[in-house]
Each structure stands twice: as C-alpha cells, then as structure tokens.
C-alpha cells in the first residue's frame, strides 16, 4: 500500500481513478517494467516519517554544542568570511518565483532570473575590472580549477602550470585533482616573506608555461604585487590567472583586471552569503572578452523580444555540454543561481559607498587587532613587512593548535592553527577580523592571548 503524506496530493480515491485511467488494477501492475530480480522488496532504512515538530526538536538537540548555541566568538576566515547581511536579502531569496524556478532555458518565463544574472555579471565584471563574467560557478576552488582548464584550451600545446604556494591549500588540492588525468605539469612558486617570490617565478618560467596562478590577498592574508607578477608572466606569453577568495578586498585593492589578469576568479561567499559549514557558495569567473568562447558555464546576454523590448536570455550555449557534449568547454550544467542572486541583492544593498566603507571597516579592525595582539607580548606578526586586508598570521611562542583548543573551551575560536594545513608549522595562527567583530571582541581575544598563550 502506498502511504499518504503531506507532500503527496494524490488521495486513495484519486489513486483508484488514476490507476483505472491507466488501465491497470494496482500500483504493482505499473511496476512490471522493473525486472523482478532487481526489485527491492525491503523498506529503506531511513526510519519512520517525522513531523516538522519532531525534526525541529532533533535539530536543536544535535546542534546544542554548536557555535550558535554557544554564542561563540570566532576569528576564523581562511576562505570563508563572516560578513553582515541585511535581512532583506534572505527574505527576497525566499520568494518562490526565485527559489522554485528552473534554469532559465525558456526566456519568456524567466526574465526575473535572467535580469538578475545580467546585473550579477555586470557587478562581478566591474569588481574584478574584467570585461566578461559568467553567470557563476560552484565555488572559488572549482572556479580556479576551471580557469586552469580554460588556460589549457587557450594555450594549447603548452603543458606547464605555475601556481603560487600562497594559494589556499584546499584550492590547490582541488586543482591537483582536476588536472590529474590531463597531462599538465604543476609547479609551485615558493614564497619570500609571505608573498610569491618574483625571482623564483622568473627562474621557473619558460615558453611552455600555459599560465601563472596567483591568489591575492593570499592564503596568509598578504596582498600580492599582482602588477609585477603579471608583467613577468607575460614576458613568456603565459596567461595570468588571479584567484580572490576574499572578494570584499576588491573594494579597496587594485582590481585583477587593472593588474593584467587574463582570467580572474573568486569566491562570492564574502557577499553576505552564510558560512553554512562550507557551502553552498558562489564561484566567480571573469575573463577578457577575447577568450569568451573558451569560458565555462552559463552566460546571460541582453537582447530584445518580438516587440523590441529589452530582454535577456542565456547565450553562447554552443560552448555547453547540452549542445556540444564531449566537445564542450566544460561539463558544468548548473550555475549557483540562487546564491548568485543572494550576492547580487547584497551588493545592491551595500551600494557603491557602503561596499567601500565596509572594506575600510575590515581593514581598520584588522589593523587594530594586529596592534593589540602584538602589544600583548605573546605573539608577533609573521610577515610584518607585508600589507594585509582583514586577515593575517601571528606567530605564537608555543603551539597554536593548543592555544586554539584552550580558547575553544572558553567559547572562542581565535583563528585557524596553520598546523591544520602543514604539520611542521606549529606556531602560526591565521586570524581574520571582519566588521562583525567589535573593539571589545578584539580586546577579548588579546586578553585570551595574555591568559592562555
């Protein structure tokens, strides 16, 4: 017997009528297409059906030791940034017309989604100082991996890829996985005092390098000299690819486009998207116009309708898998549409001045934090000569992981111990300070350092 459920409109009476219309007597008759030797006759082990009340209760119990229940204070960034978000963003993205619509393949009934994508592409291209943006990608890490694949297509015949050692370690892992079967030789450019070594880049560079990948601000928070790195890359006709996980920094730092980037990618989570234990986020992907036909992912373009009115539609889809199949520029089918919409609304609400001011607040708070943390005498800056945006590495006298653990017991996450990514780095702590931390919060962290480190 088919059980009744609130998600299923068909009543037992309806079912009888529908079966009759199908010319059969029972549900079982409709399942004859499944051969009996591969039929499953048990019950799936997901337990009994639960009401909303029961599930809510369960969630509360499960999350009792979580960050939220503890009202914990956190200085963790490292690729995911805790920024403010106006309530209107959440409310607007709950509208069923946005939330429960399909990919806008039928432009006549998807103009809302399409215009939002057009605005998204415009803002993202503007922020990166690039000519074109796609309609979004899975996240920052996969955007970067796809940028490398795009570089392979543009620079066919070249087989080396140079990647700065200051790129987010998890981004590097993803890149390595993506390239494993494609015959690309990856080399890592060492660092010098926290940023990519220009001299090492020069010595690693050769005519068979397809692209050079740099992250700025880099994983350690330091701002890279993109202009100089780009000039070196171009001297051997390598493409210059920039990755920006903390995209709020684009409000104040020179844009990747102005620094000579051919492809620039990033993570749009910074645009008020909830941290959500690591996803879903929104990958940003921009390039020069000359390479647009090699770009992966969906693109939204402006056009007109039969009455000549301004309209939008997905375009250049001949690059994509549903048309080109194995010759497509990428296997990607979806974008991260709802999160792209979230970012678009957030950027619209921040506006030209607010976005800039928010970045200044981040910079100011991080500089204040550097100052008070160093003054404790318990820590020093690992890269004192480098400029940073809202994240920096402090060097403790003892184990950073132990300090973080002790602090966690008091409801504070002081940052990420770098031993998480490199077991030989026992003393480094990556600290992020956004506008959401008050002066008191920062002073509290300093006190904790005095007491525990």
């Amino acid at each position: 017997m088919t059980v009744q459920h609130r998600f299923l409109p068909t009543t037992p009476t309806d079912r009888m009528e529908l079966l009759k219309a199908c010319g059969v007597n029972s549900m079982e008759d409709l399942l004859q297409g499944i051969p009996s030797d591969v039929r499953f006759n048990g019950v799936l082990p997901s337990g009994p059906a639960q009401s909303e009340l029961e599930i809510r209760r369960r969630v509360r119990t499960l999350m009792k030791d979580g960050r939220y229940a503890k009202n914990a204070l956190s200085f963790i960034g490292a690729g995911i940034y805790d920024h403010m978000c106006p309530s209107a963003v959440n409310q607007l993205t709950l509208r069923g017309e946005f939330l429960t619509s399909y990919t806008p393949y039928q432009p006549e009934m998807s103009q809302g989604t399409l215009q939002a994508l057009f605005e998204f592409q415009t803002m993202v291209a503007e922020l990166f100082g690039m000519e074109v943006s796609n309609a979004s990608h899975y996240d920052g890490s996969t955007s970067l991996a796809e940028a490398a694949l795009m570089a392979m297509r543009i620079n066919k015949g070249k087989n080396r890829l140079l990647v700065s050692s200051s790129v987010h370690p998890e981004y590097i892992q993803v890149l390595t996985t993506y390239l494993a079967n494609l015959g690309v030789e990856l080399s890592f450019i060492p660092l010098e005092a926290g940023t990519t070594s220009l001299n090492s880049l020069k010595s690693l560079l050769s005519d068979d390098v397809m692209a050079v990948i740099i992250q700025s601000p880099n994983f350690y928070g330091c701002v890279e000299d993109l202009e100089s790195l780009s000039a070196v890359a171009k001297s051997k006709n390598a493409l210059f690819i920039v990755s920006t996980p903390e995209t709020l920094s684009l409000a104040v730092l020179p844009s990747p486009g102005d620094c000579g980037a051919d492809i620039a990618t990033g993570e749009g989570q910074s645009f008020g998207v909830p941290q959500s234990f690591g996803g879903p986020f929104v990958g940003l992907f921009t390039s020069k116009l000359e390479h647009v036909r090699q770009m992966p992912g969906r693109l939204c373009g402006e056009t007109v309708d039969a009455q000549g009115r301004r309209s939008y539609t997905l375009t250049l889809s001949t690059r994509e898998q549903h048309i080109r199949r194995d010759k497509a520029t990428s296997n990607i089918c979806t974008n991260q549409n709802l999160i792209a919409l979230w970012a678009t609304i957030w950027l619209t609400m921040m506006g030209k001045e607010g976005f800039h001011e928010l970045a200044v607040q981040n910079l100011s708070k991080a500089e204040y934090a550097k100052d008070v943390l160093v003054k404790t005498g318990k820590a020093k800056l690992r890269y004192p000569t480098q400029s940073t945006f809202n994240e920096f590495v402090i060097e403790l006298k003892g184990s950073a992981a132990e300090f973080a653990q002790k602090a966690a017991a008091q409801g504070i996450a002081p940052g990420v111990a770098l031993s998480r990514f490199d077991s030989t780095d026992t003393t480094g702590l990556l600290v992020c300070v956004t506008e959401k931390k008050s002066r008191d919060d920062i002073d509290h962290l300093a006190q904790l350092l005095r007491d525990l480190a």
Binding site: H5, F7, T10, R15, M27, G33, I34, L44, P45, P48, V59, R60, L62, G66, R67, P86, L92, R95, G96, T100, Y102, P104, Q106, P107, T113, F118, Q173, T177, A180, N181, L182, L253, P254, S255, F277, G278, G279, P280, E302, T303, D305, S311, Q321, R325, D326, N331, T334, N335, L338, M349, K352, F355, E357, A359, V360, Q361, K365, Y368, S387, A413
Partner: protein, 489 residues
C-alpha cells in the same frame, strides 16, 4: 482556458530597468555599524589602491525590495504550477527545509570550527550518508561534489584511479544514446574518449550491442537508469555482469532516481558508482539553476579511491579523515554543499523509508496517467512500460504545421512551463514529460487539456504572447554579445 490570467502567474506585472539605471548618488541601502576602532585609510596601508570605486548601484532599501520583487513576478515557478520537465524532476520544495537550513544554528557554522562544535553538523552528514547508502544499497558515499555533473566528473575520476591502480590506462567510456549531455562532457574532462551505443527498439541497451563494443580498453559504461525514456534498463544485470567480466565498471547516472526509491537499488545489480542530484530526488530547491549538490555512492571496488576528507565514526564521535593514500584527492574546498545536505536530510526525515517509496510510486503513477491521457494524440515512438517520465514526439502533428517547439512555446500562453523538448537525442523532436509525484490530478488535467487544445487549434505562429516578454531573440543575443551593462561614464 479559465484559470489563466497571465503566464507568469501575476495579475500586475511592472517594468523594472536594471538597477544601474535607477541608481542615484546619495541613496543608501544599508547601515553599517559605527566604526569603534581608529579609521585606517587604504592608501595608508597599500602601495596601490583601487583607482575608482566600483560602480555598484545606489538605492534605498525599499527601492531594492521593489526592484527584485518586481523582477520575481516575471518568473514562472513550481510554486505557481506544474513544471513537467522530463529528467529535471521539478517537484514541490518544502519550506520547513528552507527555514531549518537558513537558521543560525546551521548557517553560521564554519567548517574550520573546533571539531567539538561541529559534531551536530557532522552527524547530519553522517546520517545523510547512511540514507544514501540505504537508497542505493552501495557501501561508500562522498557528499563532496557540488552538483550532479560534478558528481559525474568525480565518479569518472574514481573509475580512472581504479584502472590506474591496476597498472593500466583504459581510455574508453561507453554511453547510451539516451545519455544526458553532461555524461560525455564529464568523461572528456576526466580524460576519456566516448563510444556511443545505440539503444534497441524497445529503448534499452542490449547485450549484443554492448558485446560489439566491449573490449579491454573500456573503463566503464555510463547509463541512466531508469533511462531518459522513462524506461528501466531491463538488461542491466546482464550488462553489469558483462562489464565486470572485463573488469570494466558500471556508472549509473542517478538523475532519474526519483523513479526507484525503495523499488530498486543500483547496488543490487552491480552498479559501481552513481551520482545523486539532491535538487531533483530530495527536493532541494532548483533556485533558478542552482545550487545543486551531487553526492556519489560507490561499490566496494571504488572505496579506496573516494575523495578526502571522509567521514568516519569513531565510537560516538564523527571525525574527518584526510589520510587516504589511494584517494583521488579533493574535488571541492571544504565539505560540499552542506546547506543542501540539511534540506535533503530534513526531506528524508519527513518522509521516512516508506514515504520515500510512496514518492516513487506516485511519480510513476502520475507519469503513467499522463501517458494514458496523451497517447491518443501524441505519437509514442517506444512502447515500453513507463516509470517516472514518458517520451512522445510530434509525428502525429507534422501535417498540421505544428511541431514540438511550437507546442512548447504555446504551452507558455496557457500559463504552464513546457515539458523538456528535443531530448533525449535518440527520439527526433522528442516531447518528454515528467509530472513528478507532487502534482495533483487536476493540475495534470489542466496540462493535458491545454496540450489537446493546442493540437486542435494549429496555425498559431506567434506564441508566446501573453507573457512579460514575447519570443526573445536568442540569435541577436549571440551575435551582438552584451554580457554586461554599458555604463554611461
């Protein structure tokens, strides 16, 4: 038809230009906290700063609210009516899931939080993993892939790693002509070449057709089951055995899993890898095209190669394990689209094991009802038992100057999203209908009567006209590329 007002579902639909045109200097959309530390100017810190502020729009909060709300009214949505896109599984999205996933308890966590704070989240991931093992009867899960196509890519990387570990480089992936476009594209990205197998007249893969192309270079066969004709691959057990005899693997595209929950498990017939599309089968919202989530399940053979980090249960504690020497590595930063896991987890809890089976039974019943109502007007090229979707074409309409595309576009004027058209590729001018289990009989009847009325009144050339925008010029969009707003300054 009576119920129709406007195709987008709204009685009042207003024009709304891009925000860059309504922007006015001085308008403020949000308040920032008062800066309680000394203000630092960027130019005092950085050698170089941005040369001018980014040209983001300047609008007040109510203007932003109206801007996006007006735009939303130009969209069709599952909340408004039937969305019978074959193989896309557009079903109702329970709002409870949305509320839970967006609550602070779940949405504020950071993946690098101290592990003691994260136990609840890891527990949710663990339980979802167990649910997915139950649905597939397969022993290994990775939740990491960000979407279905990403899951496909990950699955094929596992296939590649499997053969490499055996010291060989197999280059061929077989796909059926019913395959989604992502299958060959994912295979190419994983470094394989594609050989396509034609399905038989009954719409399924035949052992002879497989035997003709199966050799020692075949790494795996990729097929959707039930396939994109809505037909269960009845020879799948034989196909799996033939592949395994050659030590080739069976990849099942899980896009159509909505048809077989609790009715058939891929692990039972020897599948080696399958990807889930949580946004299809487990009702996480499509969101106008993402975010998706594409976990994979694998057989014993592929366990050593699964991506890292992996979830393991040590006593009552759930831990993340990074150390796995044979792993293909990481396919996405952090742990996957956790926000989507929560929604799927809530959905599965709400239905329970028996409810999941009821989902598939109702999906099958509804597709068969559509078939029964349309089989006399539309031509059905393949007559085999229908599961969750049914495929017709326009053969009966050709003399009427009516084709698949015209029928689809005219449906829009009836206030309904068209079905999938021109797919699967093995059926010329295909019309592919998947009502899903969340449509009532009356919704399906509306769709059927609209389609019948269209067929009875051929010759309407201009559709759609009752929409916010009529016949959008896609050729112009591609020829005269305008991908960003052209600012005046």
């Amino acid at each position: 038809m009576e119920f129709l007002k406007k195709s987008t579902g709204h009685a009042i639909v207003l024009e709304e230009p891009p925000s860059f045109e309504t922007s006015r200097p001085g308008a403020v959309g949000t308040d920032l906290p008062t800066l309680d530390v000394p203000r630092i100017e960027p130019k005092s810190v950085f050698k170089k700063v941005r040369n001018r502020k980014a040209r983001l729009p300047e609008l007040s909060e109510p203007e932003v609210m109206r801007h996006f709300t007006r735009m939303s009214t130009w969209n069709y949505a599952i909340d408004l009516g039937i969305y019978p896109l074959g193989s896309c599984t557009m079903k109702y999205n329970p709002r409870f899931n949305e509320e839970i996933a967006r609550s602070g308890e779940l949405s504020e966590a950071h993946p690098y939080d101290p592990i003691e704070w994260s136990q609840g989240h890891l527990r949710v991931m663990w339980e979802l993993t167990e649910d997915l093992k139950g649905v597939t009867g397969m022993p290994g899960i990775s939740l990491q892939p960000a979407a279905g196509a990403h899951g496909e890519l990950t699955g094929l990387m596992l296939v590649s790693a499997y053969h490499k570990a055996k010291g060989r480089h197999r280059k061929t992936i077989l796909t059926a002509d019913t395959a989604h476009g992502t299958n060959p594209a994912s295979a190419a990205l994983a470094g394989f070449q594609i050989v396509q197998i034609a399905t038989g007249e009954d719409g399924v893969i035949h052992p002879d057709a497989l035997a003709a192309v199966l050799n020692d270079d075949v790494a795996a066969l990729m097929t959707t089951n039930p396939n994109t004709l809505g037909i269960f691959e009845k020879n799948i057990q034989t196909v799996a055995n033939m592949l395994h005899e050659k030590d080739a693997l069976l990849y099942i595209d899980g896009a159509n899993l909505n048809a077989v929950l609790g009715l058939s498990r891929p692990g039972d017939f020897g599948a080696d890898v399958i990807q889930f599309n949580l946004h299809k089968t487990f009702s996480t919202p499509h969101g106008g095209g993402g975010p998706g989530s594409g976990p994979i399940a694998v057989s014993e053979r592929l366990l050593p190669f699964l991506p890292v980090p992996r979830l393991e249960k040590h006593g009552e504690k759930i831990v993340l394990v990074e150390d796995a020497p044979q792993s293909i590595g990481r396919v996405k930063a952090f742990f996957g689209n956790y926000g989507m896991f929560i929604r799927a987890w809530c959905y599965i809890r709400a239905l329970g094991g028996e409810g999941l089976r009821a989902v598939s039974e109702n999906a099958i019943l509804n597709a068969n009802y559509m078939r029964s109502q349309l089989k006399d007007v539309l031509y059905m090229p393949i007559n085999a038992p229908t599961l969750h979707e049914v495929v017709f074409n326009d053969r009966n309409q050709r003399d009427l100057n009516l084709d698949t595309t015209k029928m689809a576009k005219r449906l829009i004027d009836y206030g309904m999203h068209p079905m999938t058209v021109h797919f699967p590729l093995c059926v010329k001018n295909a019309i592919m209908i998947e009502p899903t289990e969340t449509e009532s009989r009356s919704e399906m009847d509306r769709f059927v009567s609209a389609l019948k009325e269209i067929i009875e009144t051929p010759g309407v050339e201009q559709a759609p006209t009752r929409v916010f925008r009529e016949r959008v010029d896609e050729t112009k969009a591609a020829r005269e590329l305008r991908l960003t707003y052209k600012f005046k300054d």
